[in-house]
Symmetry: C2
Subunit: 249 residues, 2 copies
DNA sequence: GCAAAAGTGTTCGTTTTACACCCATGT
DNA sequence: ACATGGGTGTAAAACGAACACTTTTGC
């Protein structure tokens, strides 16, 4: 059994050269149909559809989510959703907040608990997901029309991510296991929407001792190859606890 | 109609010389009884009570909360609860997160949305509340046994408050309209659980220009009377937006 | 050899820290 | 006159901001 009035929605973030991206799901009309009053006549349904184009159009996308099963913990269910969508376990996942406006979903009351996840771009092609056909990455600046209040949830997710990234070492989850200093700088620049000074940024990173040289360099680049770095897990855990200050300029 | 599977619980914080306090509610047995399976026999109920002493004892207290009405927004409902409990409007109120472990409430599945509120101690005596008889302030270090996961919710509220207070000017809501610099320092010390240096603390405050001298002094104190300060609302709004850094030492 | 990005140091002003004594008031 | 907390300055160290050129590599 599922709880009719509680759902979970996941804002799945990815990052690459083109910026921050969100993984969205093409809306499933069967699911939407279930939201309508059970005894609605076809005339009523027509009117409802007219009033809420989101319910019929192929243009609308949504966050990956679902109703919470009666016997599952929220975090656990969010993790399951994420596994369904991406085939990945052990993804960084964090609750945003509850969204509970009474009319956020038409014709029924659903409170949704928003989560955001940070995806390592090595898994961008979603080959491990069985739902990959209905899923697509969208650039944050070019989002399609979204169902319900999903746009608002994404904006909140972004705010939370910003907050988090300034004071905790979480942004790194959006990078591959080995990454260059330029990549991490551009990650921060995109998330915080702010240009940063390379020398100062690197000094700051160096002082934290969070990164260690992997000994490997970039391959096949048309310019000087950059060193690839990795975390120091111990330092990472320490900074996760203590916090850090990444407000720059 | 209310949503059976969604509640809101408020951690109501107060502050005085003795430290941080939380407003708790003596548990209402009628409400608890409703949680039990409707057809439970008296023998079953006896066993349930035995297994869950929280359901019978007079010792247990709970956060002020309730099930969400079908037509009310979460924030709005939290505000209403707060008004019921304290008689106050316009209280600082912020969502903590959703708590959804499947067994957090025995015999039924309830996901609760936690909020925390910061109360101006001028209103400590709750004269405006019609529920004042069942309510009591508890020192955070001397909490009574609590129902369900309410202790955990309080701990989370405290963590959120700590986070918030370091980077935004919210702690001030726990102080009366006019307050001394020593009061605000001890507020920070209690919340962050850290001794601070008076001279450095005051220099930091001065630099922010958040406080203005009210022109008034303490009365009837057995030592030199301290100046009373107030906010500069403009600066307060600015810092609320931009954030500030109150990590000290 | 040139295009493209990687990598690196110094200076200066600001902020943070550590630290101790006198002041005003009530009893 | 004494007890209680209020109020204040300075020096040294760390940090943050601004700023430009050389290095490596692939084509």
């Amino acid at each position: 059994m599922i709880l009719n009035s509680v759902s979970v929605d996941c804002v799945i973030f990815g990052f690459d050269k083109s910026g921050l991206r969100v993984l969205l799901n093409q809306i499933d009309k069967e699911v939407l149909r279930k939201l309508l009053p059970e005894q609605a006549s076809s005339e009523q349904i027509r009117m409802i559809y007219e009033k809420h184009p989101v319910l019929t159009s192929d243009l609308y996308w949504n966050l990956f989510g679902g109703h919470v099963p009666e016997d599952q913990d929220l975090d656990e269910f969010a993790k399951n959703l994420l596994f369904q969508a991406t085939g990945l376990n052990h993804v960084f996942l964090q609750q945003i907040s509850a969204f509970g406006s009474p009319r956020r979903v038409p014709y029924t009351r659903v409170i949704t608990i928003g989560y955001y996840a940070l995806i390592n771009p090595d898994y961008y092609d979603l080959k491990q997901s069985n739902l990959s056909k209905s899923l697509k990455w969208f650039n944050l600046n070019e989002l399609p029309p979204l169902c319900f209040d999903h746009n608002q949830i994404i904006q909140q997710a972004l705010l939370k991510l910003r907050q988090e990234v300034m004071y905790h070492p979480v942004g790194f989850h959006l990078l591959p296991d080995k990454f260059t200093l330029t990549e991490i700088q551009s990650l921060y620049e995109v998330i915080l929407n702010k240009k940063m000074d390379t020398r100062n940024f690197r000094k700051k990173l160096a002082k934290m001792k969070l990164l260690v040289d992997s000994g490997v360099k970039q391959q096949n680049v048309a310019h000087r190859a950059a060193k690839l770095y990795q975390f120091d897990i111990q330092v990472y855990e320490k900074l996760k606890m203590e916090g850090l200050n990444f407000r720059i300029e």
